[in-house]
Symmetry: C2
Subunit: 332 residues, 2 copies
């Protein structure tokens, strides 16, 4: 039975079943993704990342509510929790969400407690997002639980990446920020009713100025040359800083406004097409890598592989030498 028609017509049960199949990489899931692919590319993808304790989940809830009430958009939330060993690991978050969003047919929340390789997680997230996109969800929020590199990579799948901060989280978290800030299109200071919000904002602004100088400076043969700002500032996006108190719904309208501005910028500058292309290319590359590895292992006699690995374990052969041997042992 084809998933496509009922999915396009908004059948939630079919949607839920397909999401599960995609998450488990069941037979049939790939065929369904192939069938659905021509129907994708319409949704606006929003990635939300940030350190634990920033109130990210409440913010995502409120954002979803805002899109429902203000713009009547269909909203999907994909909550990626790669560190959870349990399926349904985001249960607590989901329960809180249910209270506000339950019974609303225009919202669909999916937690993915996927483990395993990072490549696998990013790939599955991309597939889940494609299913929601084909199913007509106009806003797809990708929320990550951790605050490491893989979470950043997942959030990067989006058109608009939101990095959530909060006042008073301490120095170690400040240090992490520098790297995460680089990917932010919109910065949210949540819990903005807390003391220290001015300090947080000041610190963010000065880091942003470092990362996005209005005048670009190139170093050329050891000399510093100042180059004037780009001819049109259409091409330049300076991340917006929005203060929110998610638990009270404050600042959510401003956040939705900021995301809308960024969407306009993406269209005008051609960045939306560029981001889509980069995302699809990296998805294609990951699949290609997997296919190449599978073909290689099928062609390689298991005993040969084990023998070479054994020699590495015994330190008779370095991993580099082992790979050379393996590569020469297989028909080119």
């Amino acid at each position: 039975m084809s998933f496509t028609q009922p999915l396009l017509e908004g059948n939630r049960l079919v949607l839920a079943r397909l999401l599960t199949q995609v998450e488990n990489d069941s037979p049939g899931a790939r065929d369904a993704l192939v069938e659905l692919f021509p129907h994708t590319g319409r949704a606006h993808l929003i990635g939300v990342t940030g350190a634990p304790g920033t109130g990210k989940s409440s913010l995502v809830n409120q954002l979803a509510l805002g899109y429902r009430r203000k713009a009547n958009k269909k909203v999907a939330i994909v909550a990626v929790d790669p560190s959870s060993p349990f399926t349904g690991g985001a249960v607590l978050g989901d329960r809180v969400r249910m209270r506000d969003l339950s019974g609303d047919e225009g919202v669909f929340i999916r937690s993915m407690a996927a483990r395993g390789s990072l490549g696998g997680i990013a790939q599955k997230t991309a597939s889940l997002v494609q299913v929601f996109d084909a199913a007509g969800y106009e806003i797809i929020i990708i929320e990550t639980v951790g605050a490491g590199q893989s979470e950043v990579d997942v959030a990067r799948l989006a058109h608009t990446t939101i990095v959530v901060e909060a006042p008073g989280l301490g120095d170690e978290i400040q240090a992490i920020k520098a790297g995460i800030l680089e990917i932010a299109d919109v910065l949210v200071i949540n819990k903005a009713d807390r003391p220290g919000v001015e300090n947080t904002e000041r610190a963010l602004r000065s880091t942003l100025e470092l990362a996005h100088p209005t005048q670009r400076i190139f170093r050329h043969h050891g000399k510093t040359m100042e180059v004037s700002a780009p001819a049109t500032d259409r091409d330049l996006w300076i991340p917006l800083i929005i203060k929110t108190v998610a638990t009270e719904g404050k600042g959510i309208d401003e956040l939705i406004e900021a995301i809308a501005k960024h969407a306009v910028h993406l269209q005008r500058s051609g960045d939306r097409a560029a981001r889509d292309r980069a995302r699809l290319e990296s998805e294609m590359e990951a699949l290609l890598q997997e296919a190449l590895m599978n073909r290689f292992m099928e062609d390689m006699p298991h005993e040969n592989y084990e023998e070479i690995l054994g020699n590495v374990v015994n330190r008779n052969l370095s991993p580099y030498e082992a790979v050379k041997l393996l590569m020469n042992g297989t028909p080119k």
Copy 2:
């Protein structure tokens, strides 16, 4: 010039230069790694991970100091900060370290602000560790900055994985713990002079009991069968919980003791060999994947690749179909 001899003789300048070459993947770095590989396999690798705010870096410092003073071991610290966009991104941490550890020839600290793919980070970390191992560092501590899946994967490279917790970090962090706990050989509750330490310990113990029941329970065709504990409990390692106040050096001796116990367990149970094998196999696989991809891209005419990618971007071809085309277009 060969690196090997001066490196084995403890030349720090040569060591520093080789580490940089390995980090940059410079020409010659791979040859050096091949040459050094037979000299590896002696060090005890300790991975340290945990959420921001737990005082991980202070703990690692104190651990290094402890190994110097108590056991006179040569200690290397590899601080992996994948979220830092700046080389030397861990500068603050390093400066704090310098105060305690500077001038000690038996300690070498290396920050890696590497970015890029997770596979790349884990692979480079593994290579840096091999260089230190060959250079005679007996204790190699791999410290990660973030608290996400990639950081967990990096910490997993080790023989003994330490997960650092601290009282009162809030619920969201508790949720992350479940996944990270699974990989812990030793659990440290740092900042143990803070209020709430009993609650943290109780929570950890109950999660541990879920993860490591003294009696294993198998589910078989829907029925629950209790199976008695393994015949020898040599094979069973139940993670130790150690309380520390790193800033005052408290609990460090106990932590070193716990790591030593775990090292004995690893030897007796055969787990050390199993972990080494798994680590080397995954390193070999990563290199193999890279080599396969490189060979494929060399054989593939660039225009063909671009044309197929263009069709994906236009939604004429799904990524799966694209990979099929790519795979058939290349000689098997």
